[in-house]
């Protein structure tokens, strides 16, 4: 450390401003920073917490055990309520993150397979989170540019189709070429499916919400046709594509049963790229300006048309990568039922993450973990995993209407307006 501090040069701009205003700078305001966590973080957290409480109530209400317990005595009923919720959420937790006791035992036994099995739940949660990250980024990027991409599901399907096609059709390529090519094909497939509604919105004013919904169903029918016709696996009775060449697989880091693959890190990298693009580049700045104030952006000479199309195309590409990631990393072939509604969940993810890449990643990790845990909850606690959709809907409702959360937890209303997205009506 240099003990001699070089004197700071006077802030010239500030001096000039003071001179112009003929008054000294206002005395520094006393720090008005509120104690604790800012509401932009607090409200999502409380929404998730409230969602979990709702889920517990839901589990209790639909549990035969609880009714049986109350049939015996009030105390037995309460015990049954506690039992059911504790069992379900314990199964959710261990199914999502792993059972600590089992992990320790496995490490002590030194059995490699047992160790892999014990740690698999946690890694599997990351696998489940990966498509969520891609799709959540897709929707968030759209929101930032003022377009509501409700068609991530369709774009995901198209991305999966194109990635699968490139994955099984090209034979004999080295992985270093084949894998990027397949991923690129996935991004392209999604991008086309995003470009069309974007272009229609910019050129004809047709609202992207309706057009992307329509494109979703066109994509479903198209993949149905492809999987029962041109892309059907020869000799198979099921609508499933041929297996993708191993040279296009996203490499896995461990042996079976762990499916954790490179896609997770690609997703994190993509989150950084989206962050960099949105907040560090001129294009990203224009995109965000068009999103927050299209008239102002137009006045400032920005091309609203170009930015709308660009946003939808990029959003589609990201969603397409989500689909490519699933077929190249997890399934290694395409079947109709490969997506469990990632595209629709991604709307919740984007909003939960406040349309910021970091927030989206965190929200995706949460939802992926919940989804993964729900599978084991279904097996060991007899709670159908669809409860996660109910949870997601409740959380999304609270995020979208923060006033409910505020009145539940007696939070103060923030002074400035909230950063909720505002989309105008169908007119465009």
């Amino acid at each position: 450390m240099n003990p001699e501090k070089t004197p700071q040069p006077p802030d010239f701009g500030k001096l000039v401003l003071e001179e112009i205003n003929h008054e000294a700078a206002p005395p520094p305001q006393p720090e008005r920073r509120k104690r604790g966590i800012p509401q932009s973080v607090l409200i999502p957290l409380l929404a998730v917490l409230t969602g979990l409480i709702f889920g517990a109530i839901f589990i209790i209400l639909t549990s035969q055990e609880v009714y049986n317990g109350f049939g015996q005595s009030f105390g037995a009923g309460l015990t049954a309520m506690w039992d059911v919720v504790a069992r379900s959420y314990t199964a959710l937790f261990t199914g999502a993150l792993g059972d600590p006791v089992r992990m320790i035992n496995a490490l002590q036994s030194g059995n490699a397979l047992e160790i892999r099995r014990a740690f698999n739940p946690f890694l599997e949660s990351l696998v489940t989170s990966t498509p969520y990250i891609f799709a959540g980024l897709a929707v968030a990027l759209g929101f930032r540019a003022g377009v509501f991409n409700i068609g991530a599901e369709g774009q995901l399907f198209m991305g999966a189709i194109t990635a699968t096609y490139v994955g099984y059709k090209l034979v004999g390529l080295p992985m270093i070429i084949h894998l990027p090519l397949a991923l690129l094909a996935g991004a392209l497939g999604g991008a086309i499916w995003g470009f069309i509604p974007g272009w229609l919105k910019a050129k004809t004013g047709g609202h992207e919400v309706i057009n992307t919904i329509m494109m979703n169903y066109i994509a479903f029918r198209l993949s149905e046709w492809l999987l029962t016709g041109p892309m059907k696996r020869p000799g198979s009775y099921n609508p499933v594509s041929p297996e993708i060449q191993p040279s296009a697989w996203l490499p896995r880091f461990f042996e079976d049963p762990i499916r954790f693959h490179l896609g997770f890190f690609l997703a994190l990298g993509m989150a950084y790229v989206v962050y960099w693009f949105l907040f560090k580049t001129t294009w990203g700045f224009e995109l965000r300006t068009v999103g927050s104030n299209p008239y102002g952006a137009k006045y400032a000479g920005m091309d609203v048309t170009k930015n709308t199309v660009l946003a939808m195309t990029l959003s589609g590409a990201l969603a397409g990568l989500a689909g490519a990631n699933e077929v190249l990393g997890v399934n290694h072939s395409l079947a109709m039922a490969f997506s469990s509604g990632y595209g629709f969940d991604s709307i919740a993810l984007a909003l939960l993450g406040n349309n910021h890449p970091v927030g989206v990643v965190l929200a995706s990790l949460l939802f992926g973990t919940l989804r993964n845990g729900a599978t084991s909850m279904q097996l060991s606690a007899n709670v159908p995993n669809d409860i996660i959709s109910v949870l997601q809907a409740v959380i999304l409702a609270f995020i979208a209407a923060p006033a409910i959360i505020r009145s539940l937890y007696r939070l103060r209303k923030p002074a400035e307006g909230e950063g909720m997205i505002t989309i105008k009506g169908w007119g465009g």
């Binding site: 919904i213 149905e224 629709f344 959709s389 409702a397």
Partner: protein, 423 residues
Amino acid sequence: MATTTSAFHRKIEVVSPTRQRVMGILFILLGLALVFFFTPGLSQGQVTTFGLSLATSDIQLPPWQVHTLPTLYGLAVVSAILGGIQLARGFGRYTNWVLGLVVGFFIFGFLVWAAAGKSLNLVGMLNTTLSRSVPITLGALSGILCERSGVVNIAIEGMMLTGAMVSALVGSITQNAWIGLLAAIFAGALLALIHAVLSIKYKTNQIVSGTVINIFATGLTSYISAKFLQVNQALNNPPTFGGTPIPLLSEVPILGPVLFNNSIFVYVMFVLLIVLNIALFQTRWGLRLRAVGEHPKAADTLGIDVFKTRYMAVILGGMVAGFAGGYFTLGSAGRFDEVMTAGRGFIGLAAMIFGNWNPFGAFGAGLLFGFADALASRLAILGVAIPSQFLLMAPYIATMIVLAGVIGRARPPAADGIPYEKE
């Protein structure tokens, strides 16, 4: 100046030369398509047979036979002539009717080709079309109620799905289809209430709110289905509404079997259609509802309670959607299966747009989409080489084309989707 511009614009809307030309070319193209796609491979003297009565009817009409090739050429020539007239003179404000006629020719030509050398029961086909159009049209009516009052409703699908599940569950428990149907309507209203509170009271983005309801409905119905309905089949075995032929009318040849030999859902749909059309456009209630959807501030100034009107409209819409959900279980399948609505709610949304937010327009679109649906399931039987998926895609593509303004612009209510802030 302002008046001249608006008059100028209105003139453009009616007889835009571009639109006239596009339409004319479209008619001619459809005529050409009839020749190029359908005539190859047919031989002279081939006959298409259309059955005109159901096997159950008392009065049996002889089947209608047409000579395949001459019919196709005839339809093509008439289409082309209409196209020529449209290009030369234009049909002005009758253009849409002529468009309907030419599309009708094309569809008829398609049927003539598809059933060449075979027999197709036209009456059965039309009857299927009508019953397939029921959930679509009802969904569209639900959407019209909401959106005419200025609340976007993309949750029709979720409301239908919940209605279907609830009607199966309640119908099975009570063993009474009517109580099941009432429960479905109630469930739809309840979800609509959530949508209304979120979007009217909390001014949530209405598309987000609709998405919330769709995700919630999918989760809830699948959960209940997995936890109860699949485990205990007695809970998924509701009595159904069978066909209820209307005495006398159902015996009228052709019209009888198509229109008057259906389940109550079809009749209720017709009643709703007429009632809603009159209520929206002929009554004070409808005027107020539309005013709230077009210009809520002006309506408020005139003493109309914007919030109350919107709540009412959204909840009524939810009831219609719940009723439509009942169709799937009580009127059709007789049981609930996970995600059984399979996007019909969204097609209903499309039909609403296609019909330009008008009940009868939506019904027309519902019929068209229902026809595509009915045809898709018969293509295999007829042995046609067109994949049924492409027919099922057609409604979505058509909606996008309409939305893009190629064939006339769809115009939503002005305040659709914008929450109202009282000052």
